[in-house]
Symmetry: C2
Subunit: 408 residues, 2 copies
């Protein structure tokens, strides 16, 4: 069976790891930064060398298209090439490089295809410098207001906006180039899992059925400050102890729900946070994700059962944000699974925990995703790593999936 080239894929990964290289095995490549522009130019140069026509839309999303044998909408694949601060060499960029390798294989091997094939690079997926994440796929899919996004300020330079960075980038194109159902037939995004499941369970390929629904709540406990040395225990209103009891309650209850539920208390703060003062206010966050909305409903039920007063402290909470479960296009998910099986790659169906550009695109055109394993589950850090063989397997599944789509 036809395969992408492991040598070429390795060369691509190495070449692009230079753009924003931290010197410690990772990259810092903020969206539209000098390093990201260099990486974009390299994508453009390589795609044009393969015969692609490259255009950008008004959010600088970049589309590099090779023609098909018929006048049909293009099949897209790609991801993003921006990173978080001191991120890794795989998150995002691997989806771009795998799509480029697939196109290169198709061109070099002269694999017939009816539809044009497009490598897409989405602008500012990470939201690491200009919030929010998935900004530009979000704008063109109607999730965000473009004017608000253009005004998004850099976290490091007050007053410097995403709009200004866009103007300067040289990649701002025409609104008419935006992805649309008239011009594009489907999107397949390859990405690293960013979690440990595929590696720990021993699978080559994740067949991504969708993106988990999630809720993020912030809890606040209001007690009373007091001197650690003078306030008898019976008179205390210790906001940290109230928070501790509530976190324990959440664990006890949430552990009863479906084992695929993940929930995290990632952030905690105490005020005044002095070792000799009883905490008067404590806040913590709860992030909970599951593919099944019914399980998320059960999580909410557990949250709503928290008493208004815990350990004499007032409890309040509010939803910081939430996301409904996103379902990818079942036919495409089946193609991904079938492609993995065709190659004899072990695979499992799963839902993505993190968000991806694909979750917005699926509202506009048929979409699915392919995951490859993340060693140790590391992501958004320099330790991020996917063995080359796994990258190749992902590229092969992508190639075959695109060809299945082409044939249907």
């Amino acid at each position: 069976m036809i395969s992408c080239s492991i040598e070429r894929l390795e060369e691509k990964i190495k070449a692009f790891s230079k753009f924003g290289d931290t010197g410690r095995g990772g990259v810092t490549r903020y969206s539209l930064s000098k390093e990201a522009i260099e990486a974009r130019n390299e994508v453009k140069r390589r795609m044009e060398a393969l015969g692609a026509t490259v255009v950008t839309d008004d959010m600088a999303n970049m589309y590099a298209t090779i023609p098909g044998t018929e006048d049909l909408p293009a099949i897209m694949s790609g991801s993003h090439l921006d990173s978080v601060k001191q991120g890794g060499n795989y998150d995002g960029i691997l989806g771009v490089l795998a799509a480029m390798e697939v196109v290169e294989t198709i061109v070099k091997e002269k694999i017939p295809h009816r539809h044009p094939i497009t490598v897409v690079v989405w602008t500012n997926e990470e939201g690491a410098r200009f919030e929010p994440a998935m900004m530009s796929s979000g704008v063109i899919c109607g999730k965000f207001d473009k004017e608000v996004m253009l005004a998004s300020e850099a976290k490091d330079i007050p007053g410097y906006t995403f709009g200004e960075a866009l103007e300067k980038s040289g990649f701002k194109g025409d609104v008419s180039n935006r992805m649309s159902p008239e011009k594009y037939k489907a999107l397949i995004e390859l990405h690293i899992e960013q979690g440990p499941v595929l590696e720990k369970e021993g699978y080559d390929i994740g067949v991504v059925e969708g993106v988990c629904g999630m809720i993020n709540y912030e809890f606040t406990f209001r007690g009373q400050a007091g001197h650690a040395g003078t306030t008898p225990m019976k008179y205390r209103k210790d906001a940290l102890y109230a928070a501790v009891k509530t976190i324990q309650y959440l664990h006890d209850e949430l552990d009863q729900l479906d084992s695929k539920l993940v929930y995290t208390t990632g952030k905690i703060s105490a005020h005044p946070n002095i070792h000799t003062i009883i905490p008067e206010e404590v806040k913590f966050t709860l992030d909970a994700r599951h593919q099944n909305p019914e399980v998320i409903r059960q999580v909410l039920e557990i949250i709503h059962k928290i008493p208004k007063i815990v350990e004499k402290c007032e409890v309040s909470y509010e939803e910081a944000w939430s996301r409904k479960t996103v379902q990818f296009t079942p036919e495409l998910v089946d193609f991904v699974e079938k492609s993995a099986k065709d190659y004899g790659y072990t695979n499992m169906r799963l839902y993505s925990g993190p968000g991806h550009d694909a979750q917005y695109v699926v509202d506009v055109i048929p979409t699915a995703m392919i995951f490859v394993p993340s060693v140790g589950g590391h992501s958004h850090c320099e330790l991020e790593y996917t063995p080359l063989e796994n990258c190749l397997k992902g590229a092969n599944v992508l190639l075959r999936t695109l060809l299945y789509i082409d044939q249907h």
Copy 2:
């Protein structure tokens, strides 16, 4: 029975509340600041008007002494006049003002006394700008190295030392003026309780038997960071959950010990403290205080029983500092109690949770303390308040205690 003047005491409290007035019911009067110097000058002016001789020692501790009828060591009373940032009008300064009012009563009422009587102002009790707390009583009682203290840097101005502030203050005197057993017979320090016990239990006067022993530990939990959306619960090493379990364990076990034990987890931090990341490191502090060293030993036993691994996270801890229980001079403690009873004031024996200059002085000369109630237990804040009647009761107990000492 003779009483101090409630009008004069009220005038003193109001007058001194101007030095560093925040305009919101409290003061910021860092040690040796312009505001503190103004307050010192006012103490000096008023004491000299009462016939006192005022000297300072090499740490700017100030001694204002009226003569007795015999050539005997002086009996001291006083406290400090510096405050924390946005502190109250009672912590420290009330002990100075009560001593001044007692001397004024003795002078105006011509109460005979054999011993000279000294109003003392200790320099930098709070350690709010120059660490540590109780710096100057500590130096003259041999607890701290003077050169190290002189080099203590201001928290707000890098490089600006306590020594420089001392030179500028105009209150640096001679080492020969230091408090010593040859020159001083005893110290009684009046102070606000800084806790809620006297008020809640309905007592006028706290007869302070000593200062609680304490330990302060810092605990560290090391887990593994991971994405909130991609790491199944079974693979997690959640440092915050390990900390939560341990705090709960500490509460469960420590609550079995003597009910006078107070313990506090005042400070907590999580790293990286991001709502979508499983905490990889969490630290919290444990402060525990009790007058009986055996109870502190039991606390340590409970700490030592914490497993090395909790919820798959590594646990470590270390003592940040500790203090042995300080016992005040029993004869003087009895005098305080007797004085309160003489006036018919309700009173209870207790141990101080916070530290005071008196705890260092007791190693040099006989010492005891008098507490007056803190409404709501508030201290080190602008809400700090002791009703005038309670202040007067404290001053009266101080007067009578000094006279008991004078007679023995």
